[in-house]
């Protein structure tokens, strides 16, 4: 029995389709979560335009998108991974290793296509390494990826020490510094394309259904004929690949590689995913939520930056936003439950 069969004729099976969300009443609440987030995003946008005269400027807003595009690229794959009940904390270190590998290829005299390919392949290999440890050896992903977080970045430090790779070819700067048209940067286009792809994969395919099923009940999914290990392996590969894509963009934007590149980014990616309404315990969440969360985080950091609010206050703000957006729907549910 294949998955396609199941979904094409769900009414004939007693099991029915694997549910998109936990329970039917949840669906409405999750929808309201995303709309709540959207309201927050619009609110921040309006507040920002009043707070700073520099906010409503196409070029400034375009610059602001760089605050989140690379993180969001990883966040899409991370969202799927977290929905499936796993996590990858090594993503920032994968960027460091991929960027270092790209630097080595550049030093060896190869051009932009080879450099980009190296970044993507390194990301895939790192993802495969994480995936094998988790799915074949059955190790918890949080432990594995905390380990590889040090491992991947450690290799970069061994290769580079306190040095740096610089002198990337000028056409390589296309990815991180180029513009597709007018103020729409290449990174923003990559972000948008990936958002659509991940949205379709998660919400419109059997694979996406399998991801939810695994996150809700991995054993149940296994007995329902879902190849749980294979799906998880693919998710780790995707997360690695996305880290590779982000590595290409970030390296191109910085025009150089240092082993400290992207340090601390993994937590910002996880924050974005959780803010987007993905259940950190797995089983639910959506790509539109993550997209809105990316904009919220980008708008908040940029808006506060325009007001020259110190970075530490900014992190407090993001923290409060995170707690607020997560706590509000639950509080609301509790209040309604009692009433």
């Amino acid at each position: 029995m294949s998955l396609a069969e199941t979904t094409s004729a769900p009414e004939t099976r007693s099991r029915g389709p694997v549910p998109d969300r936990l329970r039917a009443p949840w669906e409405a609440k999750l929808k309201s979560w995303e709309s709540l987030l959207l309201v927050v995003a619009i609110g921040i946008f309006i507040l920002n335009s009043f707070a700073s005269p520099y906010f409503l400027n196409a070029w400034n807003l375009s610059d602001a998108t760089f605050n989140f595009t690379e993180k969001a690229m990883i966040a899409f794959a991370m969202a799927l991974l977290i929905i499936a009940g796993e996590i990858d904390l090594s993503v920032a270190s994968i960027i460091a290793l991929a960027s270092t590998a790209m630097g080595l290829v550049m030093e060896a005299g190869f051009g932009t296509p080879a450099i980009v390919a190296t970044g993507l392949v390194t990301g895939l290999l790192c993802g495969a390494f994480n995936g094998v440890l988790v799915t074949r050896l059955g190790l918890p992903s949080i432990v594995v990826t905390i380990g590889t977080m040090s491992l991947f970045r450690g290799i970069s430090y061994i290769v580079l020490g306190d040095g740096a790779f610089r002198g990337y070819p000028s056409d390589f700067s296309f990815f991180g510094q180029g513009y597709a048209f007018w103020v729409i940067s290449v990174e923003l286009v990559i972000f948008a394309v990936l958002a659509v792809i991940y949205g379709v994969v998660l919400h419109k395919t059997n694979f996406g259904r399998a991801v939810y099923a695994i996150g809700n009940n991995a054993t149940g999914a296994l007995f329902s004929g879902i190849r749980v290990a294979r799906v998880k392996m693919i998710l780790f590969l995707l997360t690695g690949l996305m880290s590779g894509v982000a590595a290409v963009c970030l390296t191109s934007r910085l025009g150089s590689t240092r082993p400290s590149i992207a340090s601390g980014m993994e937590l910002e990616v996880v924050t974005m995913v959780v803010l987007g309404g993905v259940n950190i315990l797995g089983g639910s969440g959506s790509i539109p939520g993550v997209v809105i969360a990316a904009f919220v985080m980008g708008l908040v950091t940029f808006g506060l930056g325009l007001l020259n609010v110190p970075g530490i206050v900014m992190s407090i703000f993001i923290g409060l936003l995170l707690i607020g957006v997560i706590a509000l729907p639950r509080l609301w549910a509790k209040v309604r439950g009692r009433g």
Binding site: Y54, F66, N67, R166, L250, L254, G255, G264, F302, N308
Partner: protein, 329 residues
């Protein structure tokens, strides 16, 4: 007639609008490696001092939470969006900031780096706290000032391959003839390890019983040497000097093992960086090799062929000012 009147009032109106714009303060952003670091807080204090001296300057003191290049880029992007007049940055990464700072310059913002520099094409000028020649001279001067009759001094360096220390010792040797009576009896290497530096300092005092001073141009060596002098009971006989951090050297100054030592003064550095950014943004001077830039009470600096300038002699710390600075850095 009516037309003329209309034109005049229009001109007056335009003048009214132009007036405040022209009188608007120049906004200079002091971007540091990370907020909450004593050294940079002190630099910000210096920048504010320069601003109040200049009158028409507003300082935006900002920086990321961690010392990352990515964080600094986000901060700089926000500053570009605000169309500040000048950015003076102490960079977390020599190269990674270049594309962003280039964009800033394209949009008409004056960009300089200070303390920790940016690669040449990412800024118009760079301000070093001091120069190798000035440091080489200062370390021997500090020893010589305490020895009016002349005397024997020894050098406790970091490693034999430490580029900075080797250059400073070389520069020191060059100016030695200016200090008659000062006799450098030897150079030892503590490898910038506290215990090895301590043993090497002990060895110096044993090998040269008449030793008058130890010059340690390294913040690790100078502390270890001062400790060795205290432990050997030679406070008052052997003076330890060189380059050190006020927070680490406060004890040595208090015990008398070190009369004085030198390092850059962050307040002066922030002050000078602001002055430099101001004059470049104002167009008083073009950032080009050989250009001389006024930096207020610190005098003036000259840009070399890489667009870098050295601010001044390292600042001398002794018992009169150590308490003020030991809490700063």
């Amino acid at each position: 007639m009516k037309l003329a009147k209309l034109l005049t009032s229009a001109a007056v109106a335009a003048g009214l609008f132009a007036g405040p714009a022209a009188a608007e303060d120049m906004r200079i952003a002091l971007v540091v490696k990370a907020l909450g670091i004593g050294f940079f807080e002190a630099a910000a204090k210096g920048a504010e001092e320069a601003a109040s001296e200049l009158g028409d300057v507003e300082i935006i003191y900002t920086g990321p939470t961690d010392t990352t290049a990515e964080g600094q880029i986000e901060v700089i992007n926000a500053l570009i969006a605000q169309q500040v007049d000048a950015i003076a940055v102490s960079a977390n990464d020599t190269d990674a900031l270049v594309p962003t700072l280039k964009k800033a310059m394209q949009r008409g913002i004056t960009v300089i780096s200070w303390d920790s520099g940016v690669a040449e094409d990412g800024r118009q000028a760079h301000l070093n706290p001091s120069s190798n020649a000035l440091i080489g001279n200062m370390i021997v001067k500090l020893a010589a000032d305490e020895l009016p009759e002349g005397g024997d001094v020894a050098v406790l360096s970091a490693t034999t391959t430490s580029t900075n220390q080797n250059i400073w010792i070389e520069e020191m040797t060059k100016v030695l003839p200016n200090y008659p009576g000062i006799n450098v009896v030897g150079t030892v290497y503590g490898d910038d390890l506290a215990d090895k530096s301590y043993r090497e300092a002990q060895g110096l005092m044993q090998s040269y019983p008449d030793l008058d001073a130890i010059i340690a141009p390294t913040s690790v060596g100078i502390v270890a040497a001062a400790q060795a002098v205290v432990d050997a009971g030679k406070v008052g006989q052997v003076n330890v000097t060189g380059l050190g951090l006020p927070s680490e050297m406060a004890g040595a100054i208090e015990s008398g093992a070190s009369k004085s030592f030198a390092i850059w003064n962050p307040i002066d550095l922030g002050y000078s960086a602001t002055m430099m950014a101001y004059h470049l943004a104002k167009g008083d001077v073009e950032a080009a090799p050989g250009a001389e830039i006024e930096i207020g009470r610190m005098g003036s600096v000259t840009l070399d062929e890489t667009g870098s300038a050295a601010m001044a002699d390292p600042f001398v710390y002794d018992e009169t000012n150590i308490d003020e600075f030991k809490s700063i850095f």
